[in-house]
């Protein structure tokens, strides 16, 4: 079997599994199709678990009426801002600390402590500091993203090959050129390794922030639906968030493919 056929086969099965889950979900929560197994009332399953057809209908209404776009825009903007600011500052601080051992030694315990701290707990504090608007969500996302990128860059700079470094110096590179032509490219490959995690965490920051207090965003939608026990809307919100998280992840993959051409990837041959 050639590889294209194999990958199409895989896709088919992936879609079938998704469909299967939805069908099971629908059948198990339908008040009529099956006798109640666990709950005493046939409507209770749908009340607790929602129903996929209802959920999809909710998503459809959100998009066709356009009521979701504003919320989605806010959440995505928070995510992207947190991601960009967190990544840039993680890269900057990571490079700085990796290249100045004294500062790194001095700050070491604080960095360890801040990383060990469950940083989601900062959300209420950010709410107080930055208000209930976007800034507090971005701040939460930044604290989550920053450390991941920071540690990767720090590691990446320390693992720059001594030979490559010595070679660049012998070729006449000064300190700034070493930074630009050796340390940063080397650290970038480590940043990309962490970017899939960070984009997910930027999303977590935005949604959790909204969930804890806001007046707009998809997290806010979910919170509202929960307040009225509208479980279908909660699931619809989760579905939309998941879809957009996948899109962001895919964008990172695209950027990675473009920028990391110099990295060896397995299986680069083509059969003619």
């Amino acid at each position: 079997m050639n590889s294209r056929k194999a990958s199409r086969f895989l896709r088919l099965w992936q879609v079938l599994i998704l469909a299967g889950v939805f069908v099971f979900w629908q059948v198990a929560t339908d008040p009529e199709l099956l006798p109640p197994i666990y709950f005493d009332n046939p409507n209770k399953a749908a009340f607790f678990f929602g129903q996929p057809l209802e959920v999809l209908a909710r998503v459809w209404v959100w998009f066709s009426s356009g009521s979701i776009y504003g919320h989605l825009w806010v959440t995505l903007l928070e995510t992207v801002l947190a991601f960009v600011i967190g990544t840039a500052s993680g890269l900057g601080v990571g490079l700085w600390l990796a290249l100045s051992p004294t500062a790194a030694a001095l700050l070491d315990p604080y960095i360890k402590a801040m990383n060990a701290m469950p940083r989601v707990i900062l959300a209420p504090i950010f709410g107080v500091w930055f208000g209930l608007g976007m800034a507090s969500k971005v701040a939460l996302g930044v604290t989550l993203v920053f450390f991941i990128v920071f540690f990767n860059v720090y590691q990446g700079v320390r693992e720059v090959s001594h030979t490559v470094l010595a070679n660049a110096r012998m070729l006449g590179a000064g300190e700034r050129q070493l930074l630009r032509h050796v340390y940063i490219p080397s650290a970038t490959s480590w940043v990309f390794a962490s970017l899939h995690n960070s984009v997910g965490l930027a999303f977590v920051g935005a949604v959790v922030g909204e969930y804890l207090g806001s007046s707009e965003g998809v997290g806010y939608l979910i919170l509202q639906a929960e307040g009225t026990f509208d479980i279908n809307s909660v699931f619809a919100g989760i579905l939309v968030l998941t879809a957009f998280a996948l899109v962001l992840d895919w964008l990172v993959t695209l950027a990675e493919r473009r920028l990391m051409v110099w990295q060896p990837r397995s299986g680069e041959t083509e059969r003619i």
Binding site: T163, V164, A166, A168, M170, G172, V261, W262, Q263
Partner: protein, 273 residues
């Protein structure tokens, strides 16, 4: 500058590595002790010695990448402080910038020195052609074979026209055919404008077939030169053919006699470690 000054003079070099073992204790290891090595302008000198005897260490001293614990380095009569700006270095292990293409690697040194990009590109193309890599400039190091990567490294170093070329077992990772090809190419490039070369190897045949002089180092620790041999074989040479000449065999036997004890010593040490 004195007219007769050697291109490179390592004078009574001692290198002691200090490495921490445990909390307060440190271990000292003297890799090279009292080593003296002179290289005349335009001379091709090979340094042979058993693996681990301190050859790379000595070359790092000559390049200014490492400070000797005692002794000093003179470059064309001037005392060396910091990096050796007159030297080009071909490393034993992979040293190309993996995020740059072959062409980008060859232009790197020129860019660092502020040569305009277009000019650097033009000169680099010419050098890629000289090392037989025309049309491969757009490839990244991982897309090249080991031999091609060595050629890129050679072009990367030689494009800067260094007065002294330091080479650390540059061909030891290559298969024998590629290796002999590259050795011949190296001799050809070198014969155009004879630079001073320090060529490190653990392969005596390679040393004899390339050099004007072979310096034999003792096994470590505290390695030092134990013999120097002028190689009076005629040039130009073909490294594969010259190995069959009677004079080559004679020289090989003579140098091998001097080396044998050290190689065995080095081997015993490695076994006991």
């Amino acid at each position: 500058m004195q007219v007769s000054a050697p291109a490179l003079a390592l004078e009574r070099i001692t290198v002691t590595f200090v490495s921490p073992v445990g909390a307060s204790a440190t271990a000292r290891f003297t890799a090279v002790k009292d080593a003296t090595l002179m290289v005349r302008p335009g001379e091709f000198v090979s340094v042979v010695g058993p693996t681990g005897c301190g050859k790379s260490t000595l070359l790092n001293i000559a390049a200014g990448l490492l400070e000797p614990s005692a002794g000093e380095v003179r470059v064309f009569g001037e005392r060396l402080a910091g990096l050796n700006r007159n030297a080009g270095y071909l490393f034993q292990t992979e040293a190309l910038l993996p995020w740059r293409t072959a062409l980008g690697n060859v232009t790197a040194g020129l860019e660092f020195r502020g040569v305009a990009r277009a000019e650097a590109g033009r000169r680099a193309e010419a050098w890629l052609q000289r090392v037989g890599l025309r049309g491969h400039g757009h490839r990244y190091p991982h897309q090249l074979s080991g031999g091609m990567r060595k050629r890129v490294a050679l072009a990367q170093t030689l494009i800067l026209d260094p007065q002294i070329i330091l080479m650390d077992e540059p061909f030891s990772a290559l298969d024998i055919q590629t290796r002999q090809l590259m050795e011949n190419e190296l001799l050809e490039l070198w014969s155009v404008d004879r630079k001073s070369v320090v060529f490190i190897t653990h392969d005596l045949e390679e040393a004899i077939s390339l050099s004007d002089r072979v310096v034999v180092f003792s096994a470590g620790p505290a390695s030092h030169p134990i013999g120097e041999f002028e190689i009076d074989l005629p040039r130009p040479r073909d490294v594969a053919e010259i190995r069959l000449s009677p004079r080559f065999v004679e020289l090989h036997t003579k140098i091998w006699q001097a080396m044998k004890q050290e190689v065995l010593k080095g081997y015993e040490q490695q076994k006991s470690q």
